[in-house]
Chain length 286, copies 2
Protein backbone atom coordinates (compact mmCIF):
# COMPACT_ATOMS: atom_id res chain seq x y z
CA UNK A 1 0.00 0.00 0.00
CA UNK A 2 1.17 3.50 -0.82
CA UNK A 3 1.46 6.89 0.82
CA UNK A 4 -1.79 8.83 1.08
CA UNK A 5 -2.35 12.51 1.79
CA UNK A 6 -3.18 11.73 5.42
CA UNK A 7 0.37 10.41 5.91
CA UNK A 8 1.96 13.89 5.71
CA UNK A 9 0.51 15.34 8.94
CA UNK A 10 1.27 11.98 10.55
CA UNK A 11 4.95 12.28 9.59
CA UNK A 12 5.18 15.59 11.46
CA UNK A 13 3.49 13.98 14.46
CA UNK A 14 6.07 11.20 14.44
CA UNK A 15 8.84 13.77 14.11
CA UNK A 16 7.60 15.69 17.19
CA UNK A 17 7.12 12.54 19.21
CA UNK A 18 10.60 11.26 18.49
CA UNK A 19 12.43 14.59 18.86
CA UNK A 20 10.78 15.28 22.22
CA UNK A 21 12.37 12.11 23.52
CA UNK A 22 15.79 13.47 22.58
CA UNK A 23 15.69 17.18 23.40
CA UNK A 24 13.70 19.90 25.18
CA UNK A 25 15.08 22.54 22.82
CA UNK A 26 12.10 23.54 20.67
CA UNK A 27 14.28 25.73 18.43
CA UNK A 28 16.48 22.73 17.64
CA UNK A 29 13.35 20.66 16.97
CA UNK A 30 11.97 23.42 14.72
CA UNK A 31 15.18 23.36 12.62
CA UNK A 32 14.59 19.66 11.96
CA UNK A 33 10.89 20.24 11.24
CA UNK A 34 11.95 22.87 8.66
CA UNK A 35 14.41 20.44 7.09
CA UNK A 36 11.74 17.72 6.99
CA UNK A 37 9.53 20.30 5.25
CA UNK A 38 12.17 20.75 2.55
CA UNK A 39 12.56 16.96 2.16
CA UNK A 40 8.82 16.39 1.63
CA UNK A 41 9.52 16.68 -2.10
CA UNK A 42 11.52 13.42 -1.86
CA UNK A 43 8.38 11.55 -0.82
CA UNK A 44 6.09 10.39 -3.60
CA UNK A 45 2.95 8.32 -3.99
CA UNK A 46 4.91 5.26 -5.19
CA UNK A 47 6.36 4.89 -1.71
CA UNK A 48 4.83 2.99 1.19
CA UNK A 49 4.37 4.94 4.46
CA UNK A 50 7.30 3.16 6.16
CA UNK A 51 9.63 4.27 3.36
CA UNK A 52 8.66 7.87 4.11
CA UNK A 53 9.21 7.08 7.79
CA UNK A 54 12.73 5.95 7.01
CA UNK A 55 13.47 9.38 5.45
CA UNK A 56 12.34 10.99 8.68
CA UNK A 57 14.37 8.73 10.96
CA UNK A 58 17.45 9.09 8.78
CA UNK A 59 17.11 12.88 9.07
CA UNK A 60 16.98 12.64 12.87
CA UNK A 61 20.06 10.40 13.00
CA UNK A 62 21.93 12.69 10.62
CA UNK A 63 21.13 15.89 12.50
CA UNK A 64 21.26 14.75 16.10
CA UNK A 65 23.84 11.99 15.74
CA UNK A 66 21.67 9.74 17.87
CA UNK A 67 21.51 6.25 16.50
CA UNK A 68 18.67 4.92 18.60
CA UNK A 69 16.41 7.50 20.33
CA UNK A 70 14.00 4.79 21.42
CA UNK A 71 16.68 2.64 23.09
CA UNK A 72 15.43 3.17 26.65
CA UNK A 73 11.78 2.79 25.70
CA UNK A 74 12.59 -0.45 23.90
CA UNK A 75 14.46 -1.81 26.94
CA UNK A 76 11.54 -0.89 29.19
CA UNK A 77 9.05 -2.53 26.83
CA UNK A 78 11.06 -5.76 26.76
CA UNK A 79 11.38 -5.68 30.56
CA UNK A 80 7.62 -5.29 30.85
CA UNK A 81 7.01 -8.10 28.37
CA UNK A 82 9.27 -10.41 30.36
CA UNK A 83 7.49 -9.46 33.58
CA UNK A 84 4.14 -10.36 32.00
CA UNK A 85 5.49 -13.51 30.33
CA UNK A 86 4.63 -16.05 33.10
CA UNK A 87 1.04 -14.81 33.32
CA UNK A 88 0.60 -14.91 29.54
CA UNK A 89 2.17 -18.37 29.40
CA UNK A 90 -0.26 -19.56 32.05
CA UNK A 91 -3.09 -18.17 29.94
CA UNK A 92 -1.92 -20.37 27.04
CA UNK A 93 -1.59 -23.44 29.29
CA UNK A 94 -5.13 -23.01 30.56
CA UNK A 95 -6.71 -22.33 27.16
CA UNK A 96 -8.73 -24.78 25.07
CA UNK A 97 -6.83 -23.90 21.90
CA UNK A 98 -3.19 -23.11 22.68
CA UNK A 99 -2.40 -21.84 19.17
CA UNK A 100 -5.42 -19.53 19.12
CA UNK A 101 -4.57 -18.13 22.54
CA UNK A 102 -0.95 -17.49 21.55
CA UNK A 103 -2.08 -15.81 18.31
CA UNK A 104 -4.27 -13.48 20.36
CA UNK A 105 -1.37 -12.69 22.68
CA UNK A 106 0.98 -12.02 19.77
CA UNK A 107 -1.53 -9.61 18.20
CA UNK A 108 -2.23 -7.90 21.53
CA UNK A 109 1.52 -7.34 21.92
CA UNK A 110 1.39 -5.19 18.80
CA UNK A 111 -0.08 -2.34 20.87
CA UNK A 112 3.47 -1.64 22.07
CA UNK A 113 4.15 0.98 19.44
CA UNK A 114 6.06 4.26 19.29
CA UNK A 115 2.93 6.09 20.39
CA UNK A 116 2.89 4.37 23.75
CA UNK A 117 5.51 6.23 25.66
CA UNK A 118 4.36 5.63 29.20
CA UNK A 119 4.94 2.26 30.75
CA UNK A 120 1.75 2.53 32.74
CA UNK A 121 -0.34 2.90 29.61
CA UNK A 122 1.30 -0.09 27.98
CA UNK A 123 0.62 -2.19 31.04
CA UNK A 124 -3.01 -1.09 31.20
CA UNK A 125 -3.46 -1.99 27.52
CA UNK A 126 -1.81 -5.36 27.91
CA UNK A 127 -4.14 -6.36 30.69
CA UNK A 128 -7.04 -5.95 28.25
CA UNK A 129 -5.91 -9.01 26.29
CA UNK A 130 -8.63 -11.27 27.64
CA UNK A 131 -11.44 -8.88 26.79
CA UNK A 132 -10.02 -7.82 23.44
CA UNK A 133 -12.19 -8.33 20.36
CA UNK A 134 -10.30 -10.14 17.64
CA UNK A 135 -11.01 -10.32 13.93
CA UNK A 136 -9.67 -13.82 13.29
CA UNK A 137 -11.72 -15.10 10.34
CA UNK A 138 -8.57 -16.54 8.73
CA UNK A 139 -7.55 -18.48 11.84
CA UNK A 140 -8.53 -21.97 10.62
CA UNK A 141 -6.54 -21.49 7.45
CA UNK A 142 -3.62 -20.31 9.58
CA UNK A 143 -3.86 -23.37 11.83
CA UNK A 144 -3.87 -25.75 8.84
CA UNK A 145 -1.00 -23.95 7.18
CA UNK A 146 1.12 -24.09 10.34
CA UNK A 147 0.48 -27.84 10.60
CA UNK A 148 1.70 -28.39 7.03
CA UNK A 149 4.76 -26.16 7.30
CA UNK A 150 8.31 -27.12 8.10
CA UNK A 151 9.94 -23.72 7.84
CA UNK A 152 8.21 -20.65 9.29
CA UNK A 153 9.33 -17.05 8.79
CA UNK A 154 8.02 -14.54 11.34
CA UNK A 155 8.67 -10.88 10.56
CA UNK A 156 8.79 -8.99 13.85
CA UNK A 157 7.73 -5.43 14.55
CA UNK A 158 8.24 -3.65 17.88
CA UNK A 159 10.62 -4.32 20.75
CA UNK A 160 8.61 -5.69 23.68
CA UNK A 161 6.07 -7.17 21.27
CA UNK A 162 8.92 -9.60 20.65
CA UNK A 163 8.25 -11.26 24.04
CA UNK A 164 4.62 -11.78 23.03
CA UNK A 165 5.81 -13.25 19.73
CA UNK A 166 7.97 -15.65 21.72
CA UNK A 167 4.78 -17.09 23.25
CA UNK A 168 3.53 -17.81 19.71
CA UNK A 169 6.89 -19.20 18.55
CA UNK A 170 6.87 -21.64 21.48
CA UNK A 171 3.77 -23.24 19.94
CA UNK A 172 5.63 -24.00 16.71
CA UNK A 173 7.17 -27.19 18.04
CA UNK A 174 9.51 -29.22 15.79
CA UNK A 175 9.48 -26.51 13.13
CA UNK A 176 12.39 -24.53 11.77
CA UNK A 177 11.67 -20.92 12.78
CA UNK A 178 13.24 -17.79 11.29
CA UNK A 179 12.57 -14.47 13.06
CA UNK A 180 13.33 -11.32 11.07
CA UNK A 181 14.02 -7.92 12.65
CA UNK A 182 15.09 -4.51 11.29
CA UNK A 183 18.69 -4.11 10.14
CA UNK A 184 19.14 -0.81 12.00
CA UNK A 185 17.28 1.03 14.78
CA UNK A 186 14.10 2.75 13.57
CA UNK A 187 11.34 4.01 15.88
CA UNK A 188 10.85 1.35 18.58
CA UNK A 189 11.14 -1.51 16.09
CA UNK A 190 13.05 -4.54 17.28
CA UNK A 191 16.64 -5.10 16.16
CA UNK A 192 18.69 -8.27 16.65
CA UNK A 193 19.75 -7.09 20.11
CA UNK A 194 16.09 -6.61 21.15
CA UNK A 195 15.08 -10.03 19.82
CA UNK A 196 17.90 -11.67 21.79
CA UNK A 197 16.93 -9.75 24.96
CA UNK A 198 13.40 -11.13 24.46
CA UNK A 199 14.65 -14.75 24.36
CA UNK A 200 13.87 -15.27 20.66
CA UNK A 201 17.37 -16.63 19.95
CA UNK A 202 16.59 -19.80 21.87
CA UNK A 203 13.69 -20.59 19.55
CA UNK A 204 14.58 -19.17 16.15
CA UNK A 205 17.30 -18.21 13.76
CA UNK A 206 17.34 -14.41 13.93
CA UNK A 207 17.93 -12.59 10.64
CA UNK A 208 17.55 -8.93 9.67
CA UNK A 209 15.91 -7.10 6.78
CA UNK A 210 19.21 -5.30 6.25
CA UNK A 211 17.39 -1.98 6.19
CA UNK A 212 16.23 0.77 8.58
CA UNK A 213 12.79 0.98 6.98
CA UNK A 214 10.09 0.27 9.62
CA UNK A 215 8.55 -2.29 7.29
CA UNK A 216 9.75 -4.68 4.57
CA UNK A 217 10.51 -3.23 1.13
CA UNK A 218 11.55 -6.28 -0.83
CA UNK A 219 13.93 -4.60 -3.27
CA UNK A 220 15.73 -2.98 -0.33
CA UNK A 221 16.10 -6.12 1.77
CA UNK A 222 19.13 -8.40 2.01
CA UNK A 223 19.56 -11.52 -0.13
CA UNK A 224 19.40 -13.61 3.03
CA UNK A 225 16.04 -12.11 3.95
CA UNK A 226 14.62 -12.56 0.46
CA UNK A 227 15.76 -16.16 0.37
CA UNK A 228 13.86 -16.96 3.58
CA UNK A 229 10.92 -14.80 2.51
CA UNK A 230 10.29 -16.70 -0.73
CA UNK A 231 11.34 -20.17 0.42
CA UNK A 232 9.68 -20.53 3.80
CA UNK A 233 6.46 -22.53 3.89
CA UNK A 234 4.61 -19.76 5.67
CA UNK A 235 5.29 -16.08 6.32
CA UNK A 236 3.77 -14.46 9.40
CA UNK A 237 4.03 -10.68 9.37
CA UNK A 238 3.58 -8.72 12.60
CA UNK A 239 2.47 -5.10 12.79
CA UNK A 240 1.05 -2.40 10.57
CA UNK A 241 4.38 -1.24 9.08
CA UNK A 242 5.02 -4.71 7.66
CA UNK A 243 1.46 -4.85 6.38
CA UNK A 244 1.82 -1.46 4.67
CA UNK A 245 4.92 -2.60 2.80
CA UNK A 246 3.93 -6.23 2.09
CA UNK A 247 0.22 -6.03 1.29
CA UNK A 248 0.85 -6.07 -2.48
CA UNK A 249 3.79 -8.47 -2.63
CA UNK A 250 3.84 -11.61 -4.78
CA UNK A 251 3.58 -14.24 -2.09
CA UNK A 252 0.95 -15.35 0.42
CA UNK A 253 1.28 -13.94 3.92
CA UNK A 254 -0.56 -14.07 7.23
CA UNK A 255 -0.72 -10.59 8.76
CA UNK A 256 -1.17 -10.24 12.54
CA UNK A 257 -1.60 -6.68 13.77
CA UNK A 258 -3.63 -3.95 15.39
CA UNK A 259 -4.98 -1.21 13.11
CA UNK A 260 -3.38 2.05 14.18
CA UNK A 261 -4.31 4.78 11.71
CA UNK A 262 -7.18 6.03 9.59
CA UNK A 263 -5.47 5.20 6.29
CA UNK A 264 -5.23 1.47 7.07
CA UNK A 265 -8.61 1.55 8.80
CA UNK A 266 -10.20 2.92 5.59
CA UNK A 267 -8.34 0.46 3.39
CA UNK A 268 -9.55 -2.54 5.39
CA UNK A 269 -12.90 -1.01 6.31
CA UNK A 270 -12.31 -1.87 9.97
CA UNK A 271 -12.02 0.49 12.95
CA UNK A 272 -8.77 1.78 14.44
CA UNK A 273 -7.75 -0.48 17.33
CA UNK A 274 -9.12 -3.66 15.68
CA UNK A 275 -6.91 -6.72 16.25
CA UNK A 276 -6.70 -8.84 13.13
CA UNK A 277 -5.33 -12.05 11.63
CA UNK A 278 -5.60 -11.56 7.88
CA UNK A 279 -4.55 -13.91 5.07
CA UNK A 280 -3.36 -12.49 1.77
CA UNK A 281 -3.17 -14.91 -1.16
CA UNK A 282 -0.60 -14.82 -3.95
CA UNK A 283 -2.83 -12.51 -5.92
CA UNK A 284 -1.60 -8.92 -5.82
CA UNK A 285 -4.04 -6.56 -4.09
CA UNK A 286 -4.75 -3.31 -5.86
CA UNK B 1 -0.62 32.47 22.86
CA UNK B 2 2.11 31.29 20.56
CA UNK B 3 2.78 28.46 18.14
CA UNK B 4 3.75 25.17 19.75
CA UNK B 5 5.36 22.11 18.19
CA UNK B 6 1.97 20.36 18.02
CA UNK B 7 0.76 23.07 15.60
CA UNK B 8 2.96 21.85 12.73
CA UNK B 9 1.22 18.49 12.10
CA UNK B 10 -2.07 20.35 12.55
CA UNK B 11 -1.15 22.78 9.75
CA UNK B 12 -0.72 19.87 7.35
CA UNK B 13 -4.07 18.48 8.47
CA UNK B 14 -5.73 21.80 7.73
CA UNK B 15 -3.98 21.92 4.36
CA UNK B 16 -5.32 18.46 3.41
CA UNK B 17 -8.80 19.24 4.62
CA UNK B 18 -9.02 22.47 2.64
CA UNK B 19 -7.37 21.20 -0.54
CA UNK B 20 -9.65 18.17 -0.68
CA UNK B 21 -12.59 20.54 -0.90
CA UNK B 22 -11.08 22.12 -3.99
CA UNK B 23 -9.54 19.27 -5.98
CA UNK B 24 -9.37 15.47 -6.26
CA UNK B 25 -5.93 15.69 -7.87
CA UNK B 26 -3.58 14.34 -5.20
CA UNK B 27 -0.50 15.28 -7.26
CA UNK B 28 -1.65 18.90 -7.32
CA UNK B 29 -2.27 18.73 -3.57
CA UNK B 30 1.17 17.21 -3.02
CA UNK B 31 2.78 20.14 -4.87
CA UNK B 32 1.16 22.52 -2.40
CA UNK B 33 2.13 20.30 0.56
CA UNK B 34 5.73 20.45 -0.69
CA UNK B 35 5.56 24.25 -0.97
CA UNK B 36 4.07 24.49 2.54
CA UNK B 37 7.01 22.36 3.67
CA UNK B 38 9.43 24.92 2.24
CA UNK B 39 7.50 27.79 3.87
CA UNK B 40 7.65 26.22 7.35
CA UNK B 41 10.82 28.23 7.90
CA UNK B 42 8.69 31.42 7.77
CA UNK B 43 6.79 30.30 10.86
CA UNK B 44 8.37 31.04 14.22
CA UNK B 45 7.51 30.72 17.90
CA UNK B 46 6.64 34.43 18.17
CA UNK B 47 3.58 33.84 15.99
CA UNK B 48 0.14 32.79 17.14
CA UNK B 49 -1.34 29.68 15.48
CA UNK B 50 -3.80 31.74 13.37
CA UNK B 51 -0.89 33.74 11.92
CA UNK B 52 0.63 30.48 10.71
CA UNK B 53 -2.81 29.52 9.42
CA UNK B 54 -2.89 32.71 7.35
CA UNK B 55 0.39 31.68 5.66
CA UNK B 56 -1.27 28.41 4.70
CA UNK B 57 -4.46 29.96 3.37
CA UNK B 58 -2.52 32.59 1.43
CA UNK B 59 -0.52 29.80 -0.21
CA UNK B 60 -3.73 28.03 -1.27
CA UNK B 61 -5.19 31.23 -2.74
CA UNK B 62 -1.95 31.99 -4.54
CA UNK B 63 -1.57 28.53 -6.07
CA UNK B 64 -5.15 27.62 -6.84
CA UNK B 65 -6.52 31.09 -7.50
CA UNK B 66 -9.55 30.23 -5.40
CA UNK B 67 -10.52 33.08 -3.13
CA UNK B 68 -12.95 31.24 -0.90
CA UNK B 69 -12.79 27.41 -0.92
CA UNK B 70 -15.25 27.21 1.98
CA UNK B 71 -17.90 29.36 0.28
CA UNK B 72 -20.43 26.55 -0.16
CA UNK B 73 -19.83 25.12 3.30
CA UNK B 74 -20.31 28.57 4.80
CA UNK B 75 -23.59 29.05 2.92
CA UNK B 76 -24.82 25.65 4.08
CA UNK B 77 -23.86 26.42 7.69
CA UNK B 78 -25.75 29.71 7.63
CA UNK B 79 -28.74 27.98 6.06
CA UNK B 80 -28.71 25.39 8.81
CA UNK B 81 -28.36 28.08 11.49
CA UNK B 82 -31.36 29.91 10.09
CA UNK B 83 -33.35 26.69 10.00
CA UNK B 84 -32.57 26.08 13.68
CA UNK B 85 -33.14 29.71 14.68
CA UNK B 86 -36.84 29.50 15.64
CA UNK B 87 -36.22 26.49 17.88
CA UNK B 88 -33.24 28.14 19.56
CA UNK B 89 -35.19 31.35 20.01
CA UNK B 90 -37.99 29.40 21.65
CA UNK B 91 -35.42 27.91 24.00
CA UNK B 92 -34.41 31.43 25.07
CA UNK B 93 -38.04 32.50 25.50
CA UNK B 94 -38.76 29.53 27.76
CA UNK B 95 -35.59 29.83 29.85
CA UNK B 96 -35.34 31.26 33.36
CA UNK B 97 -32.29 33.36 32.47
CA UNK B 98 -32.48 34.58 28.88
CA UNK B 99 -28.94 35.94 28.80
CA UNK B 100 -27.49 32.68 30.18
CA UNK B 101 -29.43 30.61 27.65
CA UNK B 102 -28.30 32.80 24.75
CA UNK B 103 -24.68 32.63 25.96
CA UNK B 104 -24.92 28.84 25.91
CA UNK B 105 -26.38 28.90 22.41
CA UNK B 106 -23.66 31.25 21.16
CA UNK B 107 -20.94 28.98 22.57
CA UNK B 108 -22.61 25.85 21.19
CA UNK B 109 -22.63 27.50 17.75
CA UNK B 110 -18.84 27.53 17.88
CA UNK B 111 -18.81 23.81 17.01
CA UNK B 112 -19.43 24.86 13.40
CA UNK B 113 -15.77 24.84 12.47
CA UNK B 114 -13.76 23.91 9.40
CA UNK B 115 -13.45 20.36 10.73
CA UNK B 116 -17.18 19.77 10.45
CA UNK B 117 -17.66 19.16 6.78
CA UNK B 118 -20.84 17.14 6.78
CA UNK B 119 -24.08 18.90 7.42
CA UNK B 120 -25.48 15.88 9.17
CA UNK B 121 -22.71 15.95 11.77
CA UNK B 122 -23.20 19.66 12.44
CA UNK B 123 -26.90 19.14 12.95
CA UNK B 124 -26.32 16.23 15.32
CA UNK B 125 -23.92 18.35 17.35
CA UNK B 126 -26.25 21.31 17.48
CA UNK B 127 -29.03 19.23 18.91
CA UNK B 128 -26.79 18.46 21.88
CA UNK B 129 -27.03 22.07 23.11
CA UNK B 130 -29.42 21.28 25.92
CA UNK B 131 -27.27 18.48 27.33
CA UNK B 132 -23.96 20.25 26.80
CA UNK B 133 -21.75 20.84 29.84
CA UNK B 134 -20.67 24.46 30.09
CA UNK B 135 -17.79 25.95 32.04
CA UNK B 136 -19.33 29.33 32.84
CA UNK B 137 -17.70 30.40 36.12
CA UNK B 138 -17.29 33.97 34.81
CA UNK B 139 -20.96 34.30 33.85
CA UNK B 140 -22.03 36.58 36.73
CA UNK B 141 -19.22 38.98 35.97
CA UNK B 142 -20.29 38.89 32.30
CA UNK B 143 -23.92 39.64 33.21
CA UNK B 144 -22.91 42.63 35.36
CA UNK B 145 -20.56 43.96 32.73
CA UNK B 146 -23.22 43.76 30.01
CA UNK B 147 -25.62 45.68 32.24
CA UNK B 148 -23.08 48.49 32.72
CA UNK B 149 -22.05 48.70 29.08
CA UNK B 150 -23.31 51.03 26.39
CA UNK B 151 -21.10 49.88 23.53
CA UNK B 152 -20.43 46.17 22.97
CA UNK B 153 -17.89 44.73 20.52
CA UNK B 154 -18.46 41.10 19.51
CA UNK B 155 -15.67 39.49 17.49
CA UNK B 156 -17.21 36.74 15.38
CA UNK B 157 -15.66 33.49 14.30
CA UNK B 158 -17.29 31.01 11.90
CA UNK B 159 -20.04 31.45 9.33
CA UNK B 160 -23.18 29.75 10.62
CA UNK B 161 -22.08 30.36 14.20
CA UNK B 162 -23.06 33.92 13.27
CA UNK B 163 -26.76 32.95 13.47
CA UNK B 164 -26.21 31.65 16.99
CA UNK B 165 -24.43 34.89 17.86
CA UNK B 166 -27.49 36.76 16.58
CA UNK B 167 -29.53 35.08 19.34
CA UNK B 168 -27.09 36.53 21.89
CA UNK B 169 -27.01 39.96 20.24
CA UNK B 170 -30.81 40.10 20.44
CA UNK B 171 -30.49 40.09 24.22
CA UNK B 172 -28.35 43.25 24.19
CA UNK B 173 -31.33 45.56 24.00
CA UNK B 174 -30.75 49.33 23.82
CA UNK B 175 -26.99 48.85 23.46
CA UNK B 176 -24.78 49.94 20.60
CA UNK B 177 -23.45 46.68 19.12
CA UNK B 178 -20.42 46.29 16.85
CA UNK B 179 -19.87 42.90 15.20
CA UNK B 180 -16.40 42.26 13.76
CA UNK B 181 -15.67 39.70 11.03
CA UNK B 182 -12.58 38.80 8.99
CA UNK B 183 -11.47 41.21 6.27
CA UNK B 184 -11.01 38.43 3.71
CA UNK B 185 -12.14 34.78 3.37
CA UNK B 186 -10.11 32.39 5.55
CA UNK B 187 -11.19 28.85 6.39
CA UNK B 188 -14.93 28.97 7.14
CA UNK B 189 -14.61 32.19 9.13
CA UNK B 190 -17.39 34.72 8.62
CA UNK B 191 -16.87 37.72 6.37
CA UNK B 192 -19.19 40.75 6.06
CA UNK B 193 -21.28 38.92 3.47
CA UNK B 194 -21.80 35.96 5.85
CA UNK B 195 -22.73 38.23 8.76
CA UNK B 196 -25.33 39.97 6.60
CA UNK B 197 -26.72 36.61 5.40
CA UNK B 198 -27.11 35.70 9.08
CA UNK B 199 -29.15 38.82 9.81
CA UNK B 200 -26.49 40.50 11.96
CA UNK B 201 -26.77 43.77 10.04
CA UNK B 202 -30.20 44.42 11.53
CA UNK B 203 -28.73 44.37 15.05
CA UNK B 204 -25.19 45.61 14.80
CA UNK B 205 -22.72 47.76 12.93
CA UNK B 206 -20.59 45.23 11.03
CA UNK B 207 -16.88 46.00 10.79
CA UNK B 208 -13.92 43.87 9.67
CA UNK B 209 -10.49 43.14 11.11
CA UNK B 210 -9.04 44.16 7.74
CA UNK B 211 -7.00 40.97 7.65
CA UNK B 212 -7.28 37.35 6.45
CA UNK B 213 -5.82 35.98 9.70
CA UNK B 214 -8.33 33.57 11.31
CA UNK B 215 -7.95 35.46 14.57
CA UNK B 216 -7.18 39.03 15.66
CA UNK B 217 -3.57 40.19 15.52
CA UNK B 218 -3.80 43.75 16.81
CA UNK B 219 -0.87 45.24 14.88
CA UNK B 220 -2.32 43.81 11.66
CA UNK B 221 -5.87 45.05 12.16
CA UNK B 222 -7.45 48.17 10.71
CA UNK B 223 -7.58 51.51 12.57
CA UNK B 224 -11.36 51.23 12.64
CA UNK B 225 -11.17 47.84 14.33
CA UNK B 226 -8.61 49.00 16.88
CA UNK B 227 -10.69 52.04 17.71
CA UNK B 228 -13.73 49.88 18.56
CA UNK B 229 -11.53 47.29 20.27
CA UNK B 230 -10.04 49.72 22.76
CA UNK B 231 -13.04 52.03 23.19
CA UNK B 232 -15.96 49.64 23.57
CA UNK B 233 -17.16 49.01 27.11
CA UNK B 234 -16.94 45.27 26.69
CA UNK B 235 -15.28 42.95 24.17
CA UNK B 236 -16.80 39.51 23.56
CA UNK B 237 -14.54 37.23 21.57
CA UNK B 238 -15.96 34.14 19.89
CA UNK B 239 -13.96 31.04 19.00
CA UNK B 240 -10.55 29.53 19.60
CA UNK B 241 -8.73 31.47 16.86
CA UNK B 242 -9.63 34.78 18.47
CA UNK B 243 -8.64 33.41 21.88
CA UNK B 244 -5.26 32.25 20.52
CA UNK B 245 -4.47 35.71 19.18
CA UNK B 246 -6.02 37.83 21.97
CA UNK B 247 -5.22 35.92 25.15
CA UNK B 248 -2.20 38.13 25.94
CA UNK B 249 -3.53 41.48 24.74
CA UNK B 250 -3.67 44.62 26.93
CA UNK B 251 -7.39 44.85 27.51
CA UNK B 252 -10.02 42.82 29.32
CA UNK B 253 -12.03 40.39 27.19
CA UNK B 254 -14.75 37.77 27.63
CA UNK B 255 -13.92 34.68 25.58
CA UNK B 256 -16.76 32.36 24.51
CA UNK B 257 -15.63 29.20 22.73
CA UNK B 258 -15.30 25.45 22.51
CA UNK B 259 -11.83 24.01 23.06
CA UNK B 260 -10.77 22.30 19.84
CA UNK B 261 -7.17 21.19 20.13
CA UNK B 262 -4.68 19.71 22.57
CA UNK B 263 -2.53 22.86 22.70
CA UNK B 264 -5.37 25.05 24.03
CA UNK B 265 -6.66 22.18 26.13
CA UNK B 266 -3.25 21.90 27.85
CA UNK B 267 -2.94 25.66 28.29
CA UNK B 268 -6.32 25.92 30.02
CA UNK B 269 -6.11 22.52 31.69
CA UNK B 270 -9.57 21.65 30.38
CA UNK B 271 -10.60 18.85 28.01
CA UNK B 272 -11.07 19.18 24.25
CA UNK B 273 -14.75 19.85 23.53
CA UNK B 274 -15.29 21.90 26.72
CA UNK B 275 -17.59 24.91 26.21
CA UNK B 276 -16.31 27.92 28.11
CA UNK B 277 -17.02 31.54 29.03
CA UNK B 278 -13.70 32.89 30.30
CA UNK B 279 -12.85 36.38 31.52
CA UNK B 280 -9.37 37.78 30.98
CA UNK B 281 -8.43 40.89 32.96
CA UNK B 282 -6.16 43.67 31.77
CA UNK B 283 -3.15 41.82 33.14
CA UNK B 284 -1.15 40.17 30.39
CA UNK B 285 -1.11 36.38 30.65
CA UNK B 286 2.26 34.70 30.28
Amino acid sequence: MKIELECFPCLFNQLNRTLKLITDDKFKIKEIIDEMGIRLKNINFDMSPPEAGAILYSLINERLKIKDPYQNIKKESIKLGIKLYPELKKQVEESEDRLLESVKIAIAGNIIDFGAQEEFDIQKELLKIKDEEFNLSDYNRFKDKIKDSNQILVIGDNAGETVFDRILLEEFKDKKIIYAVRGFPTINDATREDAIASGIDKLANIITTGSNIPGVVINKTSEEFNDYFYNSDIVISKGQGNYETLSEIDRDIFFLFKIKCSVVSNKLDLPIGESILRYKTLKIEQ
